[in-house]
Symmetry: C2
Subunit: 917 residues, 2 copies
């Protein structure tokens, strides 16, 4: 018979940590912790297979599963010496969800299950603490009603408030036993009214309902939304953990807390966490009461603190990673409730990974695999500009829950955050506290600011996970959600006002602060001495390891010597894409470029090109020099010529204006020679404008993306290619003469047919030969092509017979493969993502099935013709970790990313290589 | 040792007709004719391998080849009893090119070779005809100088003219022997002056130079151009035929002619051709003298005529096809010089193929393979509208050299024809005569009109081959090429004036005559009774045979019941593409469509759609009804919405105008209540315009081809799909109720991801279910997708899991695969074709390597998922024969073509199936 229930107690468990799929993360950990000899309250786990069965079985469990559950319950009763529903010594249990992949706060939990009108009295007697018993009971009713019966929590909160008012007390623990009893009566009335039946007194019935409710919660709206955001499959299912309750609300020698074995924000090696005396776990997680730092436990319960420190060490040795744990102290006895790999900021991830290698806990490869490329991105995130910041006084300070600097306009609801962000606004989501319903809004915001909650509150946990700056528990601010404003020290901040928050310090500013590069970038750029940076050494070490293991080369996309220099500092090994067109937009060059375009004969065109030649040569000289020793791939002119001319509308308007002035002047001109002169000048200007307009109209294209651009320009006007090739080779020749080793690669864009590259290569090779003869040097160069037109990929065997390298232009390749204009996609991209038609924005993450299929064809066919063919990627996907994994898989030689993304690419490339095994 | 020279004489030849690649068409035929016992002048053929060797060997022939040639010459001397260079009985030979694929008039020919100052006298004696001998000599010098020495022909013509003037005669034969001798002297002076050496007197040297010149002519400019146009490989090479001369200019019992075994213009079974008495072949082909019809030979040389008729029958039995032959009569003795499969008009091809089946010469399959789809196109070409034509008097009548009607503006040079055509002008090329240099211009023109030349002149032959209407030898018109005008009966027609020509009757009109459908189309459309058409029965028979053998279905692209009806008459088996957007452009519908687009809420949009529903239903009702019993594929709304709104520029202008009026009126309005009213109205109009403009700007796209269109619309606005599906299914349901069998297929455009078709199919299936329930009928329908986005082809396995049929939209697929906007390609398409980068316009003929590769992937992957998947093509390539062959090869189920192209598609499909074996 299939086993659905897994028992754990007294140092021995049916499961272990490798059974996450079956027992969920929490269940597997409870088993593992039990096996590891940690003081875990006993219990049993109902497997995810039971969840799958539940959904298959029309949202119910078959009898044989129930039989197994009741058997486990009996074992639990035996182990604990207590009995569910026993009025003298009642067993109370927690019922918790636990999926194979953690979804914090997404599904339901019920505590104190097993209490009813009778057992509550038994508990009161057994514990000798009636207050605790009745408080537990009223909490249980409230939670059960919320989670299982789905009665609004608000109704119960209102009654609690009333009682407090009636008794004239402020906090929950101050409510009297009588008050609690009255409250329980009221609560039961609410249940009767709202649910139509009495609150269940049968404790087994309670357990049954709770288990089913947890399974049901797998498919609640917020869980589905969470899975969608994080790409978690819907069919994994959740397990249910039933575990003996231990009580942190048993008096002043009791308490409950959460902790991390290291600081999840900075990565420092210190016991980090929070606790509340005389409270249950939910109070900590929900962030309703602001808890105390774990350090303070040292003085309150020193023995427990010592034990906790030992356990933390044990945990890290056991799990070989930073752990996030929950514990409860019941009358001075420590229980470990759960542990799991702790979420951390990018900064913490980096530091922990490197530290653990030095502590001998993990090896270098593991360290590389521990740091997600996204984490590295975080540490490269901007901070506030230090100079600017000095000018501003923070208006308040909260907890520095998730590091990084963010500025944005204030919004007060998740929906608003989403809406504003869609309009392109940067927003800061300000809330009293956040809840799982706010996920989408948090994702859309630049940062999060809450008035309540601690370092492990929802806002803090999710903020760190998302890499969003967050300041939480900022008690100075008072949020009026309905009025869409908050007050802070007498100042009123309304929706749309600018605020800035610093998640690293907890500071809040009522201003739009400019941001500055991160510490690491400042070190790299020489603006901050290495010694002054705590973080940089970690960064350096990790990337040194990454470089050791990666197989992909990492180049950069850079058009200027400045960018090239920066990219080299970031570790780029050459340039994968230097766009030449940007060079023509400089104010002193544009008119020459325009005269080239307006030329009516080849001769005129050559004249203008001759003027551009020395300028281009300078450009390439600088680029090649900065990248000494590395290959520099220069792409020939790509955009359609009309991009260099003024817009039609502007010209028409200017013509209109000039003509109107002319009309007005003409009469005057008959009488004044000065006016006559102006008229003549005007007429000349108008004629020039008319000519320009005519050319603009002639060059107009319905679909410029599919128009007269790329190599089509070079083929139509060989002299343009000639000039660019000459500029490249002359620059190279000069540098070679100066003793600088350069390796130019000339890249022909938009090739779709082998004869296109053939035509262009003929011109380029001829010019190269001429320049080499003129300068008497040998230039090592290659001529290759972008693979950005589907046809080039499909006929890569032919193209490779001429091209000496390929570089995937995945921006355009994605446009063509999807028939999707990047400039226009915004009109329906969100609808497509919302409807789940595209799993991800294909311009951000490579589409493996479509664009990827073309890339595979191109690699295979290209290398079929020319086995030594060098293949890279220079589309923006070259800086996207997931896309980099794919590039590694299909055997590219290198990726090329923007300078700032080079470190991310280096790490991603290493991870791809290490994950392969 | 390799054999390079093939001998033929006296009923026995080294070669045969199957050796075309080696001996060229002419050489193989001479061998075959010799073997068949025809009276062929003896000679030998130097193979194409020698030509290849010539080019490999640095444009010269190795000694061993020369040795073989001299050996063959000795044999020839033995057989003929004459000797090359013998002053008493000189052997004269012709030296002619002959490539494996015929290139009429493209390469060089030399006649009368072997004459020199001595042999001319020997010939004069032997023939007892000094005039003939000296005339032959002067002709030989002229031709040799032109072809071998490349001295301009004009120089010789001028001297001939001078002699004629001096002797006061008009025609060449009238020149006296003394005159000819003087002419020879002058000719030799020209040679000495131009070439720098004496005219070669060594006859072997003459032969050597002539052979090399023929090989060289393979790569002359016009031959290369010809090969480019007709897609003939450059490496085939030409053979050289050296053959004993026979003389048509031996007196009144001699002559020369060309003939066809059937009429190449109409296909009638009659000996057809022309001859000249006392002339050599070049006089006929060049069209300088207008020859006599072969019929007249009956009275001039009855015995020869009889023999010729017998030989024609023999030729057809032997070659099983209509033959084009050249003959010469030397003193009453008939020699056959060459024969080859005759070029013919479409009409003749059709008729000959069908007649030959009935005569038992060939079978049905062969008949289908004999008629090129392009030939069928010709018979469907328009004729002049009969009513209109009656109103016009032809101004002149020439020879009806190539049938069909054409109207265009007059141009006088091939270059002008090309230039004007590039600008989109229709032109008629008018020339005294055409020559191979005019090919490009003839191709660019609508039709050709010449003042000289006969039915086998260059203009006539090439015109028929190209399917261009041509009127030749129109002696009434006098062409002044330099002044760009022609005169006809006192009227002057200048460049750019409109003329119309009828190649079927030879008539010329100075007017732009509207054209009317061809006879066949008139019969099909019921406008001409079947009995009254000569051509229709042939057409019907051939297509019946085609239908028997084809495997591809043939559907049509039709949006209206009228087109659907027409297409059925042409033999369409269903509709492959009905575009629904055209239906919204009707004046009464456009405003509703616009209000749908301007709707701000789903509700408003649904309101507008509800108004469109009954209209669409009517559309589909008509279409489905006309195609009873066949499948009708209806494509959902495809173009971006902005196509239905006015253009931005127009709106801005109108707004400007209205605002200016408003400004002017406002002052007045303060004093007049009437003006006030106008102002109010204006303000309302302006507001409406502003709203419209705002929406137009919102909908503006940079690349509409890659924008918010196709299924992206239906996915964004499910209600549009819903309305269209409802209209389709309600129309179908009504027809089914009326007992009419209909098979609608709903086609979702621009699918790139399986989830797109999934989304749309869900909507369509739901509506279908609702309609079927409402109407109580079962509709047999399919939901499928266009394959026009590369990604759809690449992921066809996924797409086919939902789509029930595929239809290749090769227009868009070509755009995406090439990254080429059809609307913008014109800017460089010609450069690409000229440079040979694309072999053909990819929008006309499917690109096999690129687009074809995607299609193959789609067919393979699609059928992998769904073996019964129906796959067709609805792009315009579906009517292009070459593309249809490809569709057959990759196993499509059907092609869909525009109604007029349906017969062509039926024939092409049959040929594809028959050629497969």
């Amino acid at each position: 018979m299939k086993k659905y229930v897994y028992f754990f107690a007294e140092g021995k468990a049916d499961g272990n940590k490798d059974m996450k799929n079956l027992l969920g993360g929490k269940g597997a950990n409870l088993a593992e912790m039990t096996n590891a000899g940690l003081p875990v309250p006993p219990g049993f786990t109902i497997s995810t297979e039971a969840c799958t069965l539940y959904y298959k079985n029309n949202e119910s469990l078959p009898d044989e599963v129930w039989a197994e559950i009741w058997e486990a319950l009996e074992r639990l009763e035996k182990v604990t010496g207590k009995k569910l529903g026993d009025k003298n010594n009642p067993l109370l249990v927690s019922v918790r969800s636990g999926a194979p992949i953690s979804m914090p706060g997404m599904m339901d939990t019920i505590l104190n299950l097993g209490l009813n009108d009778e057992t509550v009295e038994g508990l009161a007697k057994a514990s000798n603490n009636p207050r605790f018993a009745y408080d537990s009971y009223r909490r249980f009713i409230q939670m059960f009603s919320d989670v299982v019966l789905q009665i609004p929590r608000r109704l119960f909160e209102e009654e609690l408030q009333k009682i407090k008012e009636k008794e004239g007390v402020k906090t929950d623990p101050e409510v009297s036993v009588e008050g609690l009893k009255e409250l329980i009566k009221k609560y039961k009335e609410i249940v009767k009214r709202e649910w139509g039946r009495d609150f269940p007194q049968d404790t087994k019935e309670q357990l049954k309902m709770a288990i089913l409710a947890v399974f049901r919660s797998w498919n609640n709206k917020r869980a589905i939304e969470y899975r969608k955001i994080y790409g978690i499959p819907d069919d994994l299912g959740t397990a249910v953990n039933v575990q003996m309750m231990v009580f942190g609300n048993f008096g002043e020698d009791s308490g409950t807390g959460v902790g991390f074995t290291r600081n999840p924000s900075t990565g420092e090696k210190e016991l980090f966490g929070e606790f509340l005396i005389n409270a249950q776990g939910e109070d900590v997680v929900a962030g309703i009461r602001t808890p105390l730092h774990l350090d303070e436990l040292k003085s309150v319960l020193p023995q427990v603190y010592k034990q906790l420190k030992e356990i933390a060490e044990k945990l890290e040795r056991h799990y070989r990673d930073m752990q996030d744990f929950e514990f409860t102290v019941e009358r001075g006895k420590l229980y470990m409730l759960q542990t799991r790999t702790g979420k951390r900021t990018g900064m913490a991830a980096l530091r922990i990974a490197v530290d653990m290698v030095e502590e001998g806990l993990i090896n270098e490869k593991e360290a590389v695999l521990r740091v997600e490329p996204e984490a590295l991105e975080q540490v490269l995130h901007p901070m506030f500009d230090l100079e600017e910041r000095k000018k501003h006084q923070p208006v308040a300070k909260g907890l520095p829950a998730s590091p990084g600097a963010a500025a944005g306009r204030v919004v007060f609801t998740a929906e608003d955050a989403v809406q504003w962000a869609k309009r392109g606004e940067k927003v800061i989501l300000v809330r009293p506290e956040t809840s799982p319903e706010d996920i989408a809004g948090m994702k859309a915001a630049q940062g999060i600011l809450t008035s309540t909650g601690g370092m492990t509150s929802h806002a803090a946990v999710v903020g760190r996970q998302m890499g969003k700056p967050a300041v939480v528990g900022c008690g100075d601010i008072k949020v009026y959600e309905d009025e869409k404003k908050f007050e802070v020290k007498g100042k009123v901040v309304k929706e749309g006002d600018w605020v800035s928050i610093d998640g690293t310090t907890g500071e809040v500013f009522i201003a739009k602060l400019p941001t500055a590069p991160s510490e690491i970038i400042q070190v790299i750029m020489g603006k901050l001495p290495k010694e002054k940076s705590k973080l940089y050494p970690y960064f350096e070490k990790l990337l040194t390891w990454a470089d050791k293991y990666r197989k992909l080369g990492v180049r950069t996309n850079a058009d200027t010597p400045h960018d090239a220099r920066l990219a080299r500092l970031f570790g780029a090994e050459g340039i994968g894409l230097a766009r030449t067109e940007h060079m023509f937009f400089a104010p002193e060059r544009l008119p020459i470029m325009q005269s080239m375009i307006l030329a009516e004969t080849e001769e005129e065109r050559r004249e203008a090109l001759a003027k551009l030649l020395p300028m281009q040569r300078e450009d390439f000289y600088g680029l090649l020099k900065e990248m000494e020793g590395y290959e520099v791939t220069i792409r020939l002119l790509d955009p359609p010529l009309h991009e260099f001319l003024p817009k039609r509308e502007e010209l028409v308007e200017e013509l209109h204006k000039k003509r109107r002035i002319l009309e007005a002047m003409e009469f005057e001109a008959e009488h004044s020679s000065e006016a006559e002169k102006i008229v003549e000048e005007l007429e000349a200007e108008i004629e020039k404008l008319e000519k320009l307009l005519a050319r603009v109209e002639e060059l107009h294209e319905f679909n410029p993306m599919l128009g007269h651009r790329g190599c089509r320009l070079g083929i139509t006007f060989n002299e343009i290619t000639e000039m660019q090739a000459r500029a490249i080779f002359e620059a190279a020749a000069r540098l070679l003469r100066e003793g600088i080793k350069v390796y130019p690669e000339v890249m022909v864009p938009l090739v779709g047919h082998v004869k296109e590259i053939e035509d262009q290569k003929r011109v380029i090779d001829r010019v190269a030969k001429e320049v080499m003869e003129d300068y008497g040097v040998e230039i090592h160069y290659r001529v290759g092509t972008m693979i950005e037109v589907p046809r080039a990929a499909l006929t890569a065997d032919q193209v490779a017979s001429v091209a000496e390298f390929f570089s995937f232009g995945t921006n355009d390749l994605t446009q063509m493969t999807f028939a999707l204009s990047r400039d226009d996609a915004g009109k329906f991209l969100n609808i497509y993502l919302d409807k789940g038609i595209w799993p991800k924005d294909p311009f951000r993450t490579l589409d493996r099935d479509g664009v990827g299929a073309l890339m595979k064809i191109a690699v295979e066919k290209g290398r079929g013709t020319r086995p030594e063919l060098k293949i890279g990627i220079c589309g923006e996907h070259g800086g996207d970790p997931e896309s980099i994994y794919f590039c590694h898989e299909i055997g590219l030689d290198y990726v090329s990313a923007s300078p700032y993304r080079v470190p991310v690419a280096r790490l991603a490339a290493a991870r791809a290589a290490l994950q392969e095994k």
